[in-house]
Symmetry: D3
Subunit: 327 residues, 6 copies
């Protein structure tokens, strides 16, 4: 997907051009996993044109495998962003209808070949939100992943302005999520997909526990659930994470983040950080600290991708943000 970001903090109403970044929830997660040394393949459907190809090449530059991408259809998904600031919100205009991906139904991608030898399949709720066809393609992939015994992880990722093809997410998502072993969620998605309401006056930790308990009931194979939390208070964003791991709860350090450069993609960086921790066998507390550090660092970088190294993540865990100069 192509992100077109209004220049120099200008509003849509006044910008005379757009900076271009390649993006997409799964692509963003792949980029960080690849940078951290995990072998990943990004599987999607794109039109066969030079703009889409430039994005594929940028993924390759980050070390992401692109061999299973299918080229068909005519349109690359686009989204436009207007940079927000402490006074006015960031705005997003999606232009994804009719994209090569949205038109992808079952049979387009050769999932059996994609998953051959794979240990893990990660997908995001956005994949099911774009169109009926793409929801069916997700179902197809999940069925094959399950058949092959691949570990399945999901990012709930509910977006109000998608889901326009006539189904309520509650009709679609529980089925798709039912075989997940690992999930990243947020309280809003859980409410929409499963009707889980938590006590808004309770602490984040308690709401996470409440939500986890219900989700665990609704998704029996679920062993790991993670959420990130953001509380703007005064100038800063307080940013932290919670992890349910095989029956226990773990909560990360709370990072105070002033001066967000680009908030978009921080959820995907958090997800990639958590997946990295699981894949590398870190301890649960280490996993959630690593995931939160990834999500935090992303917010200091323009574009959707967390262009960081493992060593930078580790330094952030140790020292937090600091305004130093590293000469």
């Amino acid at each position: 997907m192509l992100r077109l970001h209004g220049r120099q903090g200008r509003r849509f109403a006044q910008t005379d051009g757009y900076d271009a970044y390649y993006a997409g929830a799964e692509a963003n997660a792949c980029v960080l996993l690849a940078r951290l040394g995990i072998g990943v393949d990004y599987v999607t459907v794109l039109p066969d044109n030079d703009i889409a190809m430039a994005g594929v090449r940028q993924l390759q530059a980050q070390g992401v495998g692109t061999d299973h991408i299918v080229y068909t259809g005519e349109k690359l998904g686009v989204y436009f962003t207007e940079q927000g600031n402490a006074i006015r919100p960031t705005r997003v205009i999606y232009d994804r209808d009719g994209s090569s991906y949205a038109k992808t139904g079952p049979g387009v991608i050769d999932w059996r070949s994609c998953l051959d030898g794979a240990a893990w399949f990660h997908w995001s709720g956005i994949a099911a939100a774009v169109s009926q066809h793409s929801a069916e393609a997700s179902a197809e992939a999940l069925a094959i992943a399950r058949e092959k015994g691949v570990c399945i992880s999901a990012d709930f990722n509910y977006r109000t302005t998608l889901w326009k093809y006539g189904k309520h997410p509650r009709e679609v998502m529980p089925d798709l999520l039912q075989h997940s072993t690992v999930a990243v969620a947020d309280l809003d998605s859980a409410a929409v997909y499963y009707g889980i309401e938590t006590d808004k006056s309770a602490s984040f930790e308690d709401r996470f526990r409440q939500c986890s308990r219900t989700l665990k009931e609704r998704i029996p194979p679920l062993e790991v659930l993670a959420m990130s939390f953001r509380t703007p208070h005064g100038i800063q964003h307080a940013y932290s994470g919670a992890l349910y791991y095989k029956g226990e709860y773990y909560f990360s350090t709370v990072h105070e983040l002033p001066f967000i450069t680009d908030q978009i993609g921080s959820g995907d960086a958090f997800t990639a950080g958590m997946l990295y921790g699981l894949m590398r066998g870190l301890l649960p507390q280490q996993i959630i600290e690593f995931a939160v550090a990834c999500g935090a660092l992303k917010q200091s970088i323009a574009g959707d991708w967390a262009l960081v190294t493992k060593s930078e993540v580790e330094q952030f865990i140790q020292h937090g943000s600091s305004g130093r100069i590293i000469r």
Copy 2:
């Protein structure tokens, strides 16, 4: 429609952003007509979002009426351009499927109100190329224009990469064009729409005469037909125009144009220049000279719009291109 033009002459494969221009064949013609002092309204269908609205405001800035624009649907048509140069061609990638305009069928625009008190209705073949719906909307508009006795002009404007909805242009265009009093065409469009083949070894003037004769037979009310011609020879483009006007042929000065800044939109500027000449009652030779000067000047300006004044067009007719400094 939004045009996104790769920065600083960069290829799609290497650009990191896009300059934004608003465009579209009819919009481009409206802008120049309004700048020349003709009262015009641009009628189209757009999504109700800030990016589309920024384009509407730019049209208003040029003096184009926008009261009849209908806001519905979700997508603004987009096209991406890669700047060509003397060695490699300019490239265009369209992203128009599913746009608010493409989804427009009959009944969306209130053509009766639009044409109330209007003297002229101008449309372009692209309007019929985007989708079955939009072709039907064109037919609806033309029927009402004819009913109201409004003068109808058409720009043939054939684009190979559109026309994807299952009809051959020959099945659609002759019907839509049959009531045109004024037309801008080109030899390729005439061949596609009507099967008119001219003698490729003949001079441009003779080919224009051949084509005009046949078109006049096929479109009985046709009184005025104009074409522009471009011959790259060596470094320069030779650029000129031809006019059939009530039975007589007129040919413009041939302008040698070195260093094209932006070729896109020159046809629309030519069209607007011809319409201006007709509306202001210029003599036929003046009309074609004016039209060609508009088309030439456009090519010295970035973006689709001919941001010129009447006085600049007249100076160009008198002095041609010159590399002077006007202090």
Copy 3:
């Protein structure tokens, strides 16, 4: 007026170019009123050149009427700005002497025609500060507005570095302001124009009450008086407003504004917000909340114009600044 703003936060001493914005106290107020749906005309005097005309077209794009602008003289007023930050102040260099506007005396603008059918006449003290001629033109306009029974509102807008034509503001402004029904002022202007000193140790609310009482005595028809207040404290600016409305005092929410993008023009946005509230018959508390929200949002946008919608202002009133993403 043309604002030339040093690029990318560079100092005058180091910038290699300037971003261009069109500006001016009354123009800024017109833009926001037009965006909020109020029919407005901007009346001024400009030179007849392409740079001035580009500004006029940008005003038209915002929906501001420009039919009464008079084109004469040779110079567009210019001001240069150097972006300040939390450590060093924003700097302004004016270049307005001898502008078409500064040379405007009585008889240049046809005020009778301008005010024909108008319900409201708004002007700013800057109009009287530029030159003796322009002060006389303001007097002429005010006399005709009064004669026609148009509601008169004034923005005190004292600028130390203008007022160079040999008169003290106190000799000029009280006469011009004497028929105002509505005014926007600030404590400094009131001190310069009327010698009103308020108790610096008192609260802002009390100082506003003191100042209002004296102004009400000095300007008998005055029914509405508004002021905005800004207190930088630590990193943030506390920003709020006060309204005197037919004998009662109303005070807005205090907004904490971190990260000012561009402070210039916030007073004009506040003024436009208040005028909007009056024109739409909002309740006094609503008026001052709306005005303050307009002034606050302006500070998140580059350039002098408050490029916001009514719905954004209302959301800001409800939620304040929040760092959200609106997808």
Copy 4:
């Protein structure tokens, strides 16, 4: 003087900012002379603000002496430029009225101190065109230069759009030019200042001889007269120079210049090249070749200044333009 040049070839009607260059006929000539190793002082009047000071510092960077600049008044002269191309002309909008320089009358600059120990005084006709005051300041300077026996050189430099203070150039310039030993002129200026008409059908060489003969009669001390000529033909500019030197005529190589980057300032570079040749005692043919090479090279450089070295000028004389790479 500050030159503000519309960004990236955009028209005034569409640019959203301006690149900034410091300029002015005498300043431009000083810069090249200083780069060529000649000790020069630039004498002018500027306002005491950071934008003017940034220009002074750029002159110092080029090695130009600035000790005699007087700081008074409020306005730096400005001119706006729109980049032309092979199809449309370069456009200039002046904003110089009321500048510190235009308000300079006799007694402001201490010419006696400026010329103390100086061997040469060079001035341009623009200095007399801006205002009555500035013409008087030129007269004062020339009287003192003559009294001190300093060699006087003049650049005729007629600009139609200046000379607005109520005098015809013919009333002013002959007096000011009467003591010139060296002059740079052009046929238009000679026609305006002295009524010298040359035979338009004659060759440039013959027209130069005709003009020189009459000017020599009108300016008795004149020993050296130079002109540059530019003939756009097809795509290229033919650019050459002519020199009258103590009774003999010399004509330079004709350079074919394709792709002018920035034509403005080439006359001043030509002038500086000629003055350099005279000051260094080159032979007449060498002088005119050097001057023309300076004027040609300037046209390959953005901004008004000929940022070249002596060695580059000499290489251009030897090899002309060539498209080589110097590694």
Copy 5:
């Protein structure tokens, strides 16, 4: 190697920043080969820092293998470029001394592993020009390549401003070149390396024949030799190629290239085109046409890399440069 290119055509003397491109003769050739579908590995030595790594990632994005790059030392080679134009030459300032590559001696790169399974080894004379150490590393690689029976091709690539380590190229290059089967050369390099002087008054074709004959004697295994030729004439560059192939001579179409965007890297594109032709078994005339088309197209693209597709090269061979729009 990092190329830093002065912004927007500015001279070194005036630029305020540099565009960044990754470059280097062998890297450039690899990029085009990879884009054409040939499996290639780029072997070099780089420092382990983020700027070098960004370049490696860009190579990966182009499909170039980077597994054999060795990371040691402290400095990435840099070269600065000033964009030339038709009036003044392009200028280059090298900053390569002490780079990781220049410090590379034998034993640093594991050539045996690099060449394991490889069919071809291509190198450039610049590799031997940078330092004594790097010349020795080239010798080591060539010895192993020969031992393994890999086909060896060489680009003569003589640069006057390198070769500073105390050896004349004639002492070094003939030994290194002696086992080449394929070579790209130019008349200057042949003169410097082998003392081959050709008759300057002869045609390019004849000079190529003369040079080829002598080189064939001096490099016994040489079967293929190619050269490109550039003749600036008037505004255009005439650009063509010659091929000696197993005893016969082949000459390409001469392309007239107006408006060079960036000349640097065209030799490497020519080389890659020729290697592609050889590897794919094209006929000799096809090979030289393909190579010349690659070299020509490169000159229309900013940066050192020929970002073209096979299909674009083939279209250029068929149609040449044309100023078309491909919609």
Copy 6:
């Protein structure tokens, strides 16, 4: 030295170009001293190329004398910077090995001539860190300065990533520093050069007193020692200074600095402010306030140079940072 700063806050991993600033500890200090009216000469060794010369011209523009610069060698020192923010640190990559300066040994600069008539010699520890040669050149300069009785001041300026030529700083620096009358230091440098460890749990004031006492013992002529301190706390940096002056201690106001634009060069601005205070005979408390204000203001300006005026420094001392607009 040339600083290349990644564009618009982009990481090295994603920037497509670099803004260029000229820099270097002594150059930075010279620039501010010259701007404050102190006559200074910058003495260094540079290659004779256009990029170095552009930097020399920028120094001249700031009023810095450059007559004693020696032009030899081939490489200008470069350093690359990646802009940090509140979440991730600023990063620096040095490329100084082999620079003209690093290769400078004794005898290259004519120190006797440089110091002829000079009252003060200031140098920085970086000069001794780059290479054995440059350390020897520093020793030579210091010997001659001492012989001539010039006041010697030193900036300790320890950089971990330099000092690669095989000596520990402790073997080199104490000798070079032993004749300093004035020094700027920091606790880290004092620890590395002299092994001075201060009590980390003590207040900054106490640690400064501890360190001063020991340094005074180790550098007998030392009369003045200054340090600046920075404590990031929450979002802001607390920034202040301490001065040991002839036996007494003085501590500045603590400035809270939010939103650092560019931290690099603030130490050099602090040093220049202190030297200015000493040279102008300010009282000790005034000296340290002046130095700290210079260091603070620098942090609001892009690039290494403190482009401020004396009056701006004085205003900052009076009012601190304030977010005002100065019209």
